[in-house]
Amino acid sequence: MLRIALTRSSRAMSVASQASASDSETSVRKIGKALETYLKNSQQHVAMMEKHRAEFETGRRHLAKMMSLDIHELDQAAIDRAIQYLFPSGLTDPNARPVMRPPDEILPKFQRFTFDEEGKPEGTRFFTLNPKIYGLLSEIGVKTQSVMKFYDEHVGSRSVNRSDLEPANLSGSQWITADKMKKKLSEKFTNELYGQVIIAFEHLASLPGSAIEQKFLSEFREPMTASTGSKLFGPAIPEVKVCAETNRRYAEVTTHCKDTRATVKVTDAGKGTFNIDGLQLHDFRHLQAREILLAPMIISQTLGRFDVTATTECISNTLPEAPNREPFKRSGGMSALPRAVRHGTALCVAALHPESIEPLRLSGLLTLDPRKNERSKVNQPGARAKWIWKRR
């Protein structure tokens, strides 16, 4: 809308129009309605942000005084802690909890355009509809040219470092995803364009001498491990610790499946023993249960290497009950308990044996199973079941 209006009336626009809108009464000139709206919104936004920033700063000083902290000590982490203390909220959705953050961080961004003196949009790429991404493409092109030229000039000479004449070192990282690139450039573009950019990047990175553009390239790279961690649903892969007494590596994690919560500790350099609430593996009568428990080791091919110690409890047993009511005594079932332990074991094995992260993830063992028993409904015998209907 704005773009169409701008292209139509770009000739008619004047310098004064964007300078100020308040003295528009002095000159009754033709300004595109869209541009006028944009300018108004822009100014309103600036004013609003000013107001919010001032408000936040005052609030911060108030909070520092309330929590008897020095204003310099009160960084964002301290603010979060203070808000969590002052407004304890049991809401499970982190987005729904009370927050106090700088307005620049939480308020939606306002997209600005740049204009030249005549009021025309700056840069000819404006009319490609994707100025940023095409700008990036041409930048890559320019850099590709310069890299080739640099290589040709210095290939035989000793004036430059040998390492500069090699391809850029991109190991352990990958190109940022389309979503991240969109956010980085603050522009929307199609997947085809993203593909073209990646092809151009690959070409540039493959050139000998692209090491001189290492900094530029690494701007659009992200570490490989972070991507795996972010993809996991449920608890993350725990950290590896070392037992002070036995000097053995171990990892510990808490997870759940259905109503069973399991705290699993996997120790490296063991004999493949299990201790689940004092039960050993052979106490699990069904092959299904033993298969479930051993699945992470079978997939990572580390049978007989890790010792698993787990304690389980029933989540609904731990919930507060009404006074004078006997608490429920339940325990995990034939497959739910082993599955809870399996998820914990898989996470710990992934921590202790990083080569098996990818196979474990692909077999779905690192993903939490969030399914729960559906609650039974009032006036019904179960969650879905209905009483038998009978004609009187």
Binding site: G272, F274, L279, Q280, L281, H282, D283, F284, R285, H286, L287, R290, E291, L294, M297, I298, Q301, L303, G304, S331, G333, M334
Partner: protein, 382 residues
């Protein structure tokens, strides 16, 4: 489960046959009284003729007896408890009261198999064998009952009594001649018409019981009495092997006239076996198995009950059985599973390709949790 290509099967057979010449299988029965030759952790074969003679097909756990049928041989692993039993049996003496051993261990760790090995060991040493398949048969599998005419209030169990006598007769053919030369101590008046006079061979009691089932329960008592007496005199050595012995102090499914369940002490056969277990006689060995099946609920799939002797025998039974020597059966060690794995591969019992790989070997080992029963079950389907 055993469907593999014809060619493959043929080759494997040949390979197995070839390997078998170098096998470490020892023939226990071929070397009587040579238990020092048996090594712990080695495979030993019980010859099929002996197995048939000892009626092992009914006494062994069903998967193993089926495997015996399929493979055409009975090869078992010699493990620690067996060695312990053998060393205890060596001690047995005319002056020493009957040594009582209780085999205990978790499910599937080989209590019954060890018991059968011990029976075979007694056979090779020419002992008299009293072998009960399961004491639970006497208390829970009672088909017909009769009130005893000998002791009022006792309940006779003709079918089980005949089975006990028949089994005794079959298992003791190797010493039948010796038994025929042992004579009864006193007159036995079974009924108005039937009686066994003093000085008759004790095999006659057995024949009497087998031919007249209504007398069989009393014949069992008389036989055990005579056996104890002759053992005391040093004329024979006896091994009493009772599987699920704790059921002798367990529940029964026998109903009395007033429709209440009879306690096990009212069953004639149970009383006779209890007397045999009591160590008021010498020159014998009593081998009992404490098994969970008496107390555990088979439908409870999650509960893990205890398998220790006091828990299973109960206070009464425990005090009766004491003093005894508990012998624990445990899960396999890794080397034991490897021995069996090699055997199964050799016999082509492990047929699938993946089971024959190194990874397959490890998986079988760990998925069975080193439990002998689970290991056998897994190997039967791979």
């Amino acid at each position: 489960m055993k469907t593999c290509g014809r060619v493959f099967f043929h080759n494997a057979r040949r390979l197995a046959a070839h390997k078998f010449t170098f096998t470490e299988v020892r023939y226990l029965s071929a070397q009587p009284k040579a238990e020092s030759n048996i090594e712990v952790g080695s495979l030993s074969e019980i010859q099929m003729s002996v197995a048939k003679h000892l009626n092992l097909k009914t006494h062994l756990p069903s998967p193993l007896s089926k495997q015996m049928d399929t493979l055409g041989e009975l090869v078992t692993l010699i493990r620690d408890p067996m060695m312990e039993i053998a060393s205890c049996m060596r001690v047995v003496d005319k002056t020493l009261p009957a040594l009582r051993l209780v085999l205990w261990g978790a499910f599937g760790t080989g209590k019954t198999v060890t018991l059968n090995q011990a029976v075979h060991h007694a056979y090779t040493n020419n002992w008299v064998i009293v072998h009960l398949r399961s004491a639970m048969d006497l208390t829970r599998r009672v088909k017909e009952i009769e009130m005893s005419s000998f002791v009022p209030g006792r309940i006779n169990d003709p079918s089980n009594a005949v089975a006990v006598l028949q089994n005794f007769k079959q298992q003791n053919q190797h010493v039948w001649k010796t038994l025929g030369e042992l004579f009864t101590e006193r007159d036995y008046e079974w009924s108005k018409s039937e009686r066994t006079a003093q000085g008759k061979p004790i095999t006659e009691i057995i024949e009497m019981g087998i031919t007249a089932p209504f007398l069989a329960s009393d014949c069992v008592g008389a036989l055990f009495r005579e056996l104890r007496r002759h053992a005391k005199d040093g004329k024979l050595k006896a091994l009493v092997a009772v599987d699920d012995a704790n059921s002798l102090w367990g529940k029964t499914l026998v109903k009395r006239a007033d429709r209440t369940y009879a306690p096990p002490s009212d069953l004639t056969l149970v009383v006779h076996f209890r007397r045999l277990i009591a160590n008021d006689w010498t020159n014998g060995c009593v081998l009992m198995v404490a098994d969970k099946k008496e107390v555990a609920d088979a439908r409870d799939e999650l509960g893990v009950s205890r398998h220790t002797p006091l828990e299973l025998f109960g206070e009464e039974g425990f005090e009766f059985v004491e003093p005894f020597l508990p012998i624990e059966t445990t899960n396999y060690t890794e080397s034991e599973t490897n021995t069996l794995y090699d055997y199964y591969v050799r016999k082509n019992w492990l047929a699938s390709k993946s089971a024959r790989t190194e990874e397959g070997r490890k998986q079988l080992m760990h998925l069975s949790a080193f439990n002998p029963y689970y290991y056998e079950r897994l190997c039967a389907f791979n």
